[in-house]
């Protein structure tokens, strides 16, 4: 197995600014393990760069951050990186996590049909709340943390060698924990709950649940 894996981190609007900042935490986690990260940040999150690196490295794991739709994942400035019916065979023999809207709806199952080991993502829009006062320091934003930390737990668990099923359950439990916290403590914001629930409802995993990156 190639121990390098790509992470796309487009950064061209408020949403991708936050996803990019929180995605960098995964790079730190990976760098503390025996994995190496191919960081496709900003303009590097383009189709040519992505396809070239994936073909050259043949990584076992790929993480996408950014915007998406039912049948596609996008990179910097919403350039299409992978689209069902166009180039989803690039995902063959790989584990994919897409922190992106909707792509688990069609691209997920289609990529598994074309040989991806597993595709985990969201079947509808991924929603998060944040505090604009922390825009220059997104990792310190406690509101955004309630949404983005559970997502990172999925990747952290995979990096540690756990299988998809275990990682998926850990991430779901983290969302539920934050949901319960948001509606049951005095200092919390209960208006967050509906969006955490929405993400939990749409968090979806297709393919082999027993596979891990260490297999």
């Amino acid at each position: 197995m190639n121990t390098a894996f790509p992470i796309t981190l487009p950064n061209h609007d408020q949403t991708t600014h936050y996803l990019s900042a929180w995605g960098k935490q995964i790079i730190k986690m990976a760098n503390n393990s025996d994995l190496k990260v191919l960081d496709l940040q900003g303009e590097k999150a383009n189709r040519e760069e992505f396809e070239t690196k994936v073909k050259a490295l043949s990584p076992k794991l790929i993480m996408f951050n950014g915007h998406g739709d039912n049948s596609m994942i996008m990179g910097h400035k919403n350039e299409i990186l992978v689209k069902a019916g166009e180039n989803e065979e690039l995902l063959r023999s790989k584990i994919i996590y897409a922190l992106s809207c909707r792509s688990a709806k069609i691209l997920g199952p289609e990529s598994v049909k074309k040989g991806a080991l597993n595709y985990t993502g969201y079947e509808d829009d991924f929603i998060f709340m944040y505090e604009p006062n922390f825009f220059s320091r997104p990792n310190l934003d406690k509101t955004a943390e309630l949404f983005l930390a559970p997502s990172n737990i999925f990747m952290e668990s995979l990096i540690k060698g756990n299988n998809i099923e275990d990682s998926f359950e850990r991430s779901k439990r983290a969302i539920i924990k934050n949901f319960n916290k948001s509606v049951s403590t005095l200092e919390s914001d209960p208006t967050i709950a509906r969006f955490l629930w929405w993400n939990l409802r749409n968090f979806s995993s297709h393919g082999n649940m027993n596979v891990s990156i260490k297999d």
């Binding site: 609007d13 909707r102 829009d125 709340m129 944040y130 505090e131 949901f179 509606v183 208006t191 709950a193």
Partner: protein
């Protein structure tokens, strides 16, 4: 979402959105980033993001009613 939304339901959703703290924004995927006032305006005018937020609110309320969610 094709179902017809009554004015009473819209008022309920607007009241729920109004409870969101003013110092927070909501990122709704490809729709963009919104303050609560922008979402309320979207519900009132029937914009695409307004329809989306109505869908989310109604599904959340239904899930609560059905006991899928036990806060």
């Amino acid at each position: 979402m094709s179902e017809q939304i009554s004015e009473e339901i819209k008022e309920l959703i607007i009241a729920r959105l109004d409870a969101i703290p003013s110092n927070k924004k909501i990122s709704i995927g490809g729709y963009g980033d919104f303050t609560k006032d922008q979402l309320i305006e979207g519900v009132k005018t029937g914009s695409e993001v307004g329809k989306k937020i109505i869908e989310i609110e109604l599904e959340f309320l239904r899930a609560m009613k059905q006991g899928v969610i036990n806060p």
